[in-house]
C-alpha cells in the first residue's frame, strides 16, 4: 500500500474545491453513483482504495471512497449510500449541482503490485464501491494476460446488487464474478447465502493469492477467516476499514482504531493478528 500524498501547497487542508455533478446513476433504491467534474482547480488523481472528503454545502462533509480508477477526464466518481444527512444530500444532488471535494486521502489497495498471481476480491454491500476501481485496473490487466481475478459479491437481496454495469464489464474482461444474496424472492436463479460460502468454489490458488476485502466489519472478519482457512496467508489479505472521519488529514482524532489513524494509516490495511484483536476486543 502506498502512503497518501500531501496537500497541494497553499491550499488550506480543510477547504474543499468546487466540483459539479456531471452524471448521476441510481444503483439501487438507496445507492447513487455521482461523477464530479472540477469547476476550476482539481484535486490530485486518487488511487483505488483512497477516499475523498465530499461536501454537501450547508449540510456537512463525509469521507467517501473513490469508486473508479482515475481516467483522462479529470472527473472523480463516488458511489454513495444514503444513510445520513450528508450522504442523503449527495445522493439527491442533480447534474449541475455543486459538491465540494478534498483529497485524495489515505492508503490504497496497492494494485500496482497485483495481477501476477491470483487476486480475490470479496465485497459486501456498499463495500463493492471502494473495490470497483481496483477491479477495473485488474480486469484491464487481465485482458492483456495479467493474473486471474475472482470477485465475490454479497448483497442483502437481488435489488441491492449495485454497479451492475461494472459487473458486466468485468465479466466480459474475463474476471470470474459470483454474486450471492442473503435472501431472494421465489424464482431468483442466482446464489443465496453468505459471501464467505462463495469462496471455496471460486477456484483460486490460495498460496499465490492476494485478497482485497471490504464490507461491514463483521463480514470482513468472517471473510478473512474463511480466506485464511482456505490457505491464503494472512499477510496477503488487505482490508478496508471505516471509522468516523471529520478531516481526512489526521487532525481531527475521530478515526482511531487502537494505534491506527484510519484516514492516515488506512483505510486499506494489511491483515494481522493485532488487527483481529482490535476489531474484536478493543472497542466493545
Amino acid at each position: 500500500m502506498t502512503n497518501a500524498s500531501s496537500a497541494p501547497a497553499g491550499t488550506p487542508v480543510l477547504v474543499p474545491l468546487a466540483y459539479r455533478v456531471v452524471a448521476r446513476r441510481h444503483e439501487t433504491a438507496d445507492v447513487t453513483t455521482l461523477r464530479l467534474s472540477p469547476v476550476a482547480d482539481a484535486v490530485a488523481p486518487g488511487r483505488p482504495g483512497q477516499f475523498n472528503m465530499l461536501s454537501a454545502f450547508g449540510v456537512g462533509e463525509a469521507a467517501i471512497s473513490l469508486s473508479a480508477a482515475p481516467d483522462a477526464t479529470g472527473e472523480v466518481q463516488h458511489t454513495i449510500r444514503d444513510v445520513g444527512p450528508v450522504s442523503h444530500a449527495l445522493c439527491t444532488s442533480a447534474p449541475g449541482d455543486l459538491v465540494g471535494v478534498r483529497g485524495p486521502f489515505g492508503t490504497d489497495w496497492g494494485v500496482d503490485d497485483l495481477g501476477y498471481g491470483d487476486t480475490v476480491v470479496v465485497a459486501g454491500g456498499i463495500g463493492l464501491a471502494p473495490l470497483a476501481g481496483a477491479i477495473d485496473v485488474l480486469a484491464e490487466r487481465r485482458r492483456y494476460g495479467g493474473g486471474r481475478v475472482f470477485v465475490a459479491v454479497g448483497a442483502r437481496n437481488p435489488d441491492q446488487v449495485m454497479l451492475r454495469a461494472e459487473l458486466g464489464r468485468w465479466l466480459a474482461a474475463g474476471v470470474r464474478v459470483r454474486v450471492t444474496v442473503d435472501a431472494a424472492p421465489a424464482g431468483f436463479t442466482g446464489g443465496v447465502g453468505l459471501v464467505t460460502q462463495l469462496l471455496p468454489g471460486l477456484g483460486f490458488d490460495p498460496a499465490r493469492t492476494t485478497a482485497l476485502v471490504c464490507g461491514p466489519e463483521v463480514m470482513i472478519r468472517f471473510s478473512v477467516r474463511a480466506l485464511v482457512d482456505l490457505g491464503v496467508p494472512p499477510g496477503a489479505v488487505r482490508v478496508s476499514l471505516e471509522r468516523n472521519m471529520q478531516c481526512g488529514t489526521a487532525l481531527c482524532g475521530h478515526c482511531q482504531l487502537g494505534p491506527l489513524l484510519l484516514c492516515r494509516d488506512g483505510p486499506v490495511v494489511t491483515w494481522n493478528d493485532e488487527l483481529a484483536t482490535l476489531l474484536t476486543e478493543n472497542e466493545r
Partner: protein, 390 residues
C-alpha cells in the same frame, strides 16, 4: 544538580517591581498578552497589561475533583499550579471558522478562513504545558497535512514560562520528565526566586531569575532592566526546584503503564471505572494535548454558510458514529479509548506520549477519577484510588 557556567551566563535577575517592563516590552512588539487572573474563583489565562493584574498571593488547593483558591496575603505572584486553561487554546481555538461560502451566480464563492494569526504572548505558562505544546505541534503541524492555522498561531506565540515552586497534589510532571523546571521550549523562562518579603521588608528582595530559550526571547530579555545572576541565585533556583520535585508524587513508570494497559484491554476494571465516569468529557477539554475536533456547517436563509471546526471529545457517543451506530457504545469503551490513546497508542501514532502529567484531568473530573492511578491499577502496576465517588 551541577550548575555549569553557561547557565549563569544566560540567567539574568529581574526585580518583581520591574515586571511591568516585561509586559511593556511584549506590547511594544505587537503581542497581546495573556496572564493568570482569577475568574469565577479559578486561575484562568486572561488578557493582562501589567503585573498589578496578576493574582498576587493566591494559592490553589487541587485534589481529585476539587479546586479551590485561597489568598495567602503574601504577594507571591505565581504561587499556584495549572488552572483549567492551557496553551492548547492558543494553538487550537475551541471554535474556529474553516470557510465561508456565499451564493454567487449559480455557484458558490468559497472563502477559506484566514490562517494568519495575531501575536499572542502568554506569561505564566508552566513547564508541563510547554511540553504539551511540543506534543500538539507534532500532532497538528508535524504530519503530512500541517494545520496552517495552528502553524501560524504557533509562530505568533511568545511563551514566558514560570518554573514551579508550588506544585499541586495532582501534579505528576516528574514522572513524565516535564517539570518542575524547564530547559527548553519557551521563549523566556522565569522562576520567582525568593518569596516576597513580609510587610516592612525590602521589596527589592522579591526577584525573578530569567533565562531566554529562543532568539525572540533573548531579544526581549535584552530590553529588560535586569542584573547579573549570582551563583547564589542559581542555588536558590536549584533548591526551590528540588523542594518542588520532592513535593510532587511519583506515578508509575509511564512506559510500563502503557504496555500494561494494552495487555489488559479486557480487564474488568474498565467496567468499574465506567460505573463512576459520567462520560462528561471534562478531562478531554482541560487536557493540554487532547486535539479532537469536529466540523459542522451552519447556513442561514440567504444561503450563506459557515463551516466551523470545534473541539470535540471521545467521550461523546457521536464521536465514533458510523452508519451502523457508534462504535464505542459503552462508557467503559469510551474511557478505555481515552486512557489507552493518551497513555499508550499516542506513542505509536505520533512518536511521543499524549500525557505530560499536568493533572488537569484529575482536578476537573467531577467524580475525581485519577487517570494515572487508575491506569497503573489496570496495568497491574499499582493500586487505584477510589476517592471522589460520592
Amino acid at each position: 544538580m551541577r550548575l555549569d557556567p553557561p547557565f549563569l551566563a544566560s540567567a539574568r535577575v529581574l526585580a518583581a517591581g520591574e515586571l511591568d517592563t516585561l509586559f511593556a516590552a511584549l506590547a511594544a512588539r505587537g503581542y497581546e498578552t495573556l496572564a493568570p487572573g482569577v475568574r469565577d474563583g479559578v486561575i484562568r489565562l486572561v488578557p493582562a497589561s501589567g503585573a498589578a493584574e496578576l493574582p498576587a498571593g493566591m494559592h490553589d488547593r487541587q485534589a481529585p475533583g476539587s479546586y479551590a483558591l485561597e489568598d495567602g496575603g503574601d504577594g507571591e505572584l505565581f504561587g499556584y499550579a495549572v488552572g483549567p486553561d492551557s496553551l492548547k487554546g492558543q494553538l487550537l481555538p475551541p471554535h474556529q471558522s474553516v470557510l465561508r461560502a456565499t451564493p454567487d451566480e449559480g455557484g458558490l464563492r468559497i472563502e477559506p478562513a484566514p490562517t494568519e494569526a495575531a501575536r499572542v504572548a502568554v506569561v505564566g505558562a508552566r513547564p508541563c504545558e510547554v511540553a504539551a505544546t511540543t506534543v500538539l505541534e507534532r500532532v497538528l503541524i508535524g504530519g503530512a497535512y500541517p494545520d496552517p492555522g495552528a502553524a501560524a498561531r504557533r509562530k505568533a506565540l511568545f511563551v514566558v514560562a514560570l518554573e514551579c515552586r508550588r506544585p499541586a497534589t495532582t501534579c505528576r510532571c516528574t514522572s513524565f520528565g516535564t517539570g518542575p523546571g524547564l530547559e527548553h521550549g519557551a521563549d523566556l523562562v522565569m522562576i520567582e526566586l525568593d518569596p516576597p518579603p513580609k510587610r516592612g521588608g525590602d521589596p527589592g528582595a522579591h526577584r525573578f531569575l530569567v533565562r531566554a530559550q529562543s532568539p525572540a526571547g533573548a531579544e526581549v530579555l535584552a530590553a529588560l532592566p535586569t542584573s547579573e545572576a549570582t551563583r547564589r541565585d542559581a542555588d536558590r533556583r536549584r533548591d526551590a526546584l528540588g523542594a518542588a520535585t520532592r513535593a510532587i508524587a511519583a506515578s508509575s513508570n509511564p512506559e510500563v503503564v502503557a504496555r500494561g494497559l494494552l495487555g489488559h484491554i479486557e480487564a474488568p476494571g474498565w467496567e468499574e471505572i465506567a460505573s463512576r465516569c459520567l462520560s462528561c468529557g471534562n478531562c478531554t477539554m482541560v487536557c493540554p494535548t487532547c486535539f479532537c475536533t469536529e466540523v459542522r456547517d451552519r447556513s442561514d436563509l440567504s444561503g450563506t454558510l459557515e463551516r466551523e471546526r470545534r473541539w470535540s471529545s471521545c467521550f461523546e457517543v457521536g464521536h465514533s458514529l458510523l452508519t451502523s451506530g457508534p462504535v464505542r457504545r459503552s462508557v467503559a469503551a469510551r474511557y478505555r479509548q481515552w486512557a489507552t490513546h493518551k497513555l499508550a497508542t499516542w506513542q505509536t501514532q505520533f512518536g511521543t506520549t499524549g500525557c505530560v502529567g499536568c493533572g488537569r484531568c484529575v482536578t476537573w473530573c467531577p467524580v475525581g477519577i485519577d487517570l494515572g492511578a487508575e491506569a497503573a491499577a489496570l496495568a497491574g502496576t499499582g493500586a487505584a484510588s477510589r476517592r471522589g465517588t460520592t
